[in-house]
Amino acid sequence: MKRIKPSTLLFVAASIAVFAIVQVLFNTGILNAFWSGIIRLAAVMAMVSLGLNLIYGFNGQFSLGQFGFYAIGAYTAADITYRWEQLHSALGLTVVLAAGVLMGLAILLVRKIVVKLRGLDTLSAFAMYLVGVILAAIVAVWIGNLLAQPATSLFAILPEKISQTIIFFLAILLGGLIAAEASFIFGLPIFTLGSDYFGIATLGFTIIIKVLLDNSDTMLGFEEMKGARGMIGIPKITTWFWVFFFLFATIVVIRNLLNSSFGRAIISVREDETAATAMGIDVAYYKNITFVIGSLFAGLAGGLYAHINGFLHPNSFSFIKSFDPLIIVVFGGLGSVTGTVAASFGWALVLEGVLRLVLPDGFETWRFVVYPVLLLVMMLLKPNGLFGNFEIPFIRSVVPPLKKELQTKGGDASKENA
């Protein structure tokens, strides 16, 4: 039997306690709907920022594309639930499900071919992936249309509440999956760019997504998204339970990943690319996989966000907004999971919550003056971020003790440092 560490127990217990307390506060009405929204938003933002911290803080890739993937996740999930709630059709679900699965299979298939054809240059590989994914998407639309009718009748049999929950849950997961696949395709050509240029390319991606969303009704043909007027009529079903569940899962997954050989490989890329590749680490692969995982969390968060207010507007995903997670990550500490979560909650509670209430009417926009000033003070006083690279014991990686036969008599140093 595996022994459970006290730090793990403590973390799980504390998480359950936090969940229960907040839930009770909501139920008793001590925290009103306004604060409930803020707290759920904070948790969603924590997921986006954790994804970014993985990419920027742990892998060293400066990315501004996080909100692009957040938007993809949000609109994908919203479209699925919207079609179910408003049009009583599972068409959205079946098409996206087929697309997610088939595109994933296409990527894996092309990857096998690319690995076999060693020495293929990046752009031809990119072209192959792109063709594969587009073909998969076309087939997926066809299959999805076929399956829509049976799926709709199947979900109609189930009680309303259950079918809604299942579709919501699948929609969130699919939002994440589609965002991850998009990030894989998009990441391929631009990972040949150096760090700063990578940032600019990802910024370009965010802008492309925003423009596409602005014209989603005309250019893309998704009339229910209503382009720049904003998408309404999305069911408001992201409860505190769901955001908490996904945030908890995100933290655990990131913690487990980082405290493994893969995590160390990811961090080694940040530390010294040349040394990492000379030590047998496939730097390009780890950059790409980290970007995909980070975007997966952004996509999941996007789906949750869409169902908080039931309203999506392309302006929420503008490139100015895409600096929010970046600032949270820098504020909390690059390479600190604890710091990122704390900073996200701070960001939402202070900026979206307290300042909105404290500042007199008409001065709400002043919070964007307070915010940069806070950041400036922060950078001057604690340039490593609020938490530096501090982690709570559950997340912290522990240096394992030496075996008896390796210990030297004067081995006091190891005790001091352990």
């Binding site: 493994s260 000379a278 680490i281 996989i289 075996k403």
Partner: protein, 276 residues
């Protein structure tokens, strides 16, 4: 391949007419070099003679402009550095390149990553296989640190180590990737005389313990002449001499390359007088 490993006559690494040009600059030009299995080889030459460029070509950081790098009968020129490392060639760097913000233990454990033995799914779930393999990997890394007497430092951040220990850690990390050939780029740079002696013993020791073929670049002649069995001398990107330490020391072209034109004549005269 394993069958070849006892074959002492066969070169394990061979450079054939290797060229690496940067525009008009012939950093390495028509270099032939053979490394025999289990030998300690030295590569010397004045600054800018192309020694480190040869390392970079062998380890895949540069592609050869012309010519071939043959490892174990297989041409590896132009492969990715990580592939070459996994095939069995590891190196250290002239200016130490550790993972500065990671612990000493993690520095070594990263080199084990290709042999970790568990997948990403196991890593995310921290299942039984993960626990087992991770323990194994950590044990091996700690044993490695013990070979370099760094085990008491395992929890320390790499950049906080003193210089000599950083050098040792870099060699430990290179060895952890279980290579057959170890390339050392100026391992004794910045070490005091006492540490240099230790280093020479260490290189001998690891060569025998891990059955390695070693190629080292070094400016301290004490090290090169003391431990190398075979020395290649380069100047302006070309090989000007090769042989055992004695032969190389007596070679007039080597003296010329190091001390300038005419120096060879003076040396000859000096040697003659000494004989009398």
């Amino acid at each position: 391949m394993a069958e070849n490993s006892n074959n002492n006559g066969k070169p394990v690494l061979e450079l054939r007419k290797l060229c690496r040009h940067f525009g008009g600059l012939k950093a390495v030009h028509l270099v032939d070099l053979q490394l025999k299995e289990h030998a300690l080889n030295g590569l010397i030459g004045p600054n800018g003679s192309g020694k480190t460029t040869i390392f970079n070509v062998i380890t895949g950081i540069y592609e050869p402009t012309e010519g071939e790098v043959v490892f174990d009968g297989q041409s590896i020129g132009g492969l990715d550095p990580y592939v070459i490392n996994q095939m069995g060639i590891a190196r250290t760097f002239q200016n130490i390149r550790l993972f500065p913000n990671l612990t000493v233990l993690d520095n070594v454990r990263i080199a084990y990553h290709p042999h970790a033995g568990y997948g990403m799914r196991d890593a995310v779930t921290h299942n039984g296989l993960f626990e087992l393999k991770e323990r194994e990997l950590t044990d091996r890394a700690q044993e490695f640190l013990a070979v370099f007497s760094l085990q008491d430092r395992q929890g320390e951040i790499a950049k906080n180590l003193p210089y000599g220990e950083q050098r040792r850690l870099e060699i430990a990390r290179a060895l952890a990737s279980s290579p057959r050939i170890l390339l050392l780029d100026e391992p004794a740079a910045g070490m005091n005389p006492y540490e240099v002696v230790q280093l020479m013993d260490l290189i001998h020791f690891i060569r025998d313990k891990f059955t390695l073929t070693v190629l080292l670049i070094e400016h301290q002649m004490r090290v090169v002449m003391g431990i190398c069995e075979h020395i290649t001398v380069m100047d302006f990107g070309e090989v000007i001499a090769r042989g055992n330490p004695k032969e190389v020391q007596d070679n007039p072209r080597v003296v010329e390359a190091y001390l300038g034109l005419g120096a060879a004549e003076l040396t000859k005269k000096y040697l003659k007088e000494k004989k009398r």
